[in-house]
Symmetry: C2
Subunit: 344 residues, 2 copies
C-alpha cells in the first residue's frame, strides 16, 4: 500500500465492496447452507429445519439523527429492520440480539427509552430480546441488530429464485419513508436557531410514521402462506426499489421490466415531493427504508395474487441480457442502476 | 427527563446497566431457552440440539487503536472474541457474521486486510463467514461480530451451574493481554513525534501476541470432552478474572475463594509490570481480553483435572454469603469487586 494509491470505497459501490471482501470464501462447516449474499444467512438445524440470521448496523449521523428521531421510535425501527430481513426469507422471526455503542452524552434514561421501543416491537410481533452487548463509543450512538428466525428448509425463499416471466410484486407503497426523512430534515434546517420550534408536519403524518416507525410486513408473508402462494424470490425493501430489484436480478441471473405507472406512490409522498421539487418517481425508486416486501411469483399465480388485494404487480422478470428497466408511460425503456455506496 | 437529572451510565456500572435495560423482559417464543445474561443466547432447534448466538461490538478508540493495531490482527482478534463466547457455552462454533461501520478515511485495501485476518482465524478453526453488513460511519471503525455455534442441549454449560465446593479452574495465564496493551500504549507515547519510530518490544513478544492475536481455547474444551469432564459453569475471560468470576458467582448464587499465589502469571507479564510500576496481581485480576477460560468442576474431578496438565486450579466455590474473595499468602481475605463501566 506504500506505493499504490489506496482505493476509495465509493469507487466500488456497496455491491462491489461486499463482492470484493467475500470473494473466494469457501465454506468449512456443513451446517452453512447459504452464506453472505442474501437477506440472511441460512444454517441447517439437522431436522429439516433451518435457522436464518441477519445482522445490521445503524450509526448516528449516518442512519439516524437524534435531533429529530425519538429514541423510542428508533428502538422500534431497529427491530423492524431486523425482522424484515427474516420475513424476506419467508421465515418466522423469533429472537433479536442488540449491541449498543454509547457515548458519554447518552443517559441511562435515554437507553431505557430506546429499549422501550425495541420491546414494544418485540411484544407486538412475539419476538424475544435474547441478548446483547453494551460498549462505550467515542462519538455518538451505534446500534447493531442480529435477528434470528426459523423455518422448514423447503419453505425458504431466496433472492436467487426468480425466473423469466415471473410477476414482480410489491407490498405497500414506495418512497414514503424517504419523503418523511426529507420533511424532518427540512424542519430541522428551518427551525435550527429558534428557541421553541414548532415544526410543520400537518398533512404529512403518514410519511413521518413510515420513516420513524415502519412496520415489518409479517401480514404479507402470512397472507401468502394462507393462500398457498410461495414466492420464487423475495427481498426486504431497505435500499430502495431500484437497488433491491437489481439485487434480485443479480442473484437470479435475470433481467426485469417494471412499469412506471404501476409503482404505488402514496398521495402524501407525491404532494410533499412536488412541494420540495423532488420527482416522486425518484423518491419511489431510490428512497430506502420502506421495509416493504419485493417478491416474484410464477405467472400462473396472477389471479391468486390479484384476489389477495394486498400487493401490486409492477412488472415481470425478463432474460438477463435485457437488463433491469423502467418502462415509462410513453414506452421508453430506462435502465436502472444501483446508487453508489451511501456516505450521506 | 425535563425536571429530573439524567442518570450517568458510569453510576450504574456495566452489570447494573444491563440489568436495568433487560429487567422484566418476558419470553414470547418457545424456542428461546436462555436470553440475556450468559456468554451467548440459547435457541432450541427442536431435535435435542440447540443453537448458541453471541454478539459483540468493538469501537475504534475504545476497544482498539489503529495506530498500533494491525488490521489483519484486528480481524483475527474479533473472530477469537466471537468464538470464545461460543466455546464458553461448551458448544462448537460454526459461523460468524461481521458488521462494519467504516469512515471515509478507510480504504478498500484496509478492509481487505481486516477480512484477511478474520478469514485466517475462520480457516484455522473451521468456521464460516456467513454474512454481514457494511455501513458508513462518521468517525472511525466499528465492528460487530455475531457468532453462532451448535451443541446437544444437555451438553451446554452455563454461567449459573457452579455449586459449593466446586473447584475453580483457569486455562493459560492472566494479565498478559493487558500488559501487551500497556506496552503498545507506552511506545506510542514515546515515539509520538519521531519520524521513523523504532518501538522497543524485545523480550515482550509473548505479551504482544496475547493482546494482538489471542487464540480461542478450543483445545481446552476438546480436551475436557475427551476426558469426560463437563464443567459445572464456564465463562470466557474477556473482562478480567475478578469481573468474570463475579459474573459466575452472581449467576450461580454462590461465593468464591481464589488464592493469590495460585493465579498463573507469565514471566513477561511480571517483568513488564514491575518495569512499569504496575502490580502484576492487579494486571492479572483486572486485565481483560485474555480470552482464556474460567470454569468450575465438581471436587471429585480434582485428579482428572490435574492429570490433564492444561489448567490451573486457583480456588473453590463457597456459600453466597462468603462473597468473592482473594486470599493472600499470609491468609488475608480481600473482597473482589467488578470494575466500573469502562470508558477508557
Amino acid at each position: 500500500m506504500a506505493t499504490k494509491q489506496p482505493t476509495r470505497i465509493e469507487s466500488l459501490g456497496e455491491f462491489g465492496l461486499i463482492d470484493r471482501l467475500i470473494s473466494g470464501i469457501e465454506a468449512h462447516d456443513p451446517t452453512t447452507l447459504t452464506g453472505a449474499g442474501d437477506d440472511a444467512a441460512v444454517i441447517d438445524c439437522g431436522n429439516g429445519r433451518v435457522m436464518v440470521v441477519s445482522t445490521d448496523m445503524l450509526v448516528e449521523g449516518i442512519d439516524f439523527d437524534l435531533t429529530y428521531f425519538p429514541l423510542k421510535h428508533l428502538g422500534y425501527k431497529v427491530v423492524t429492520r431486523g425482522i424484515s430481513d427474516i420475513i424476506a426469507m419467508n421465515a418466522r422471526p423469533s429472537q433479536i440480539l442488540l449491541s449498543l455503542g454509547v457515548s458519554s452524552k447518552i443517559s441511562v434514561e435515554a437507553l431505557e427509552e430506546l429499549y422501550e421501543g425495541a420491546r414494544a416491537a418485540c411484544d407486538r410481533f412475539g419476538i424475544d430480546i435474547a441478548g446483547g452487548d453494551t460498549t462505550a463509543s467515542m462519538n455518538g450512538l451505534v446500534i447493531n441488530i442480529t435477528a434470528l428466525g426459523q423455518a422448514e428448509r423447503d419453505r425458504l425463499v431466496y433472492r436467487s429464485g426468480a425466473s423469466q416471466h415471473d410477476l414482480i410484486c410489491i407490498s405497500g407503497n414506495m418512497g414514503a419513508a424517504y419523503m418523511g426523512l426529507h420533511l424532518l430534515e427540512r424542519e430541522k434546517r428551518v427551525l435550527n436557531d429558534i428557541d421553541n420550534p414548532e415544526p410543520q408536519f400537518e398533512g404529512y403524518e403518514y410519511l413521518l410514521e413510515k420513516y420513524l416507525k415502519p412496520q415489518p410486513r409479517i401480514d404479507i408473508v402470512e397472507a401468502l402462506a394462507e393462500e398457498g402462494i410461495r414466492p420464487t424470490s423475495m427481498i426486504d425493501l431497505s435500499d430502495g426499489l431500484a437497488s433491491d430489484l437489481i439485487q434480485i436480478c443479480r442473484s437470479s441471473r435475470c433481467g426485469a421490466r417494471i412499469y412506471l405507472e404501476r409503482i404505488p406512490i402514496a398521495r402524501q409522498t407525491t404532494a410533499l415531493a412536488e412541494q420540495m421539487h423532488i420527482d416522486p418517481v425518484v423518491a419511489a425508486l431510490n428512497g430506502g427504508e420502506d421495509h416493504e416486501l419485493l417478491f416474484t411469483v410464477p405467472l400462473a399465480m396472477q389471479e391468486k395474487i390479484m384476489r389477495l388485494g394486498l400487493v401490486d404487480v409492477i412488472g415481470h422478470i425478463t432474460a438477463e441480457e435485457s437488463g433491469v428497466c423502467l418502462v415509462t408511460p410513453d414506452g421508453e425503456n430506462i435502465a436502472l442502476r444501483a446508487p453508489a455506496f451511501d456516505r450521506r
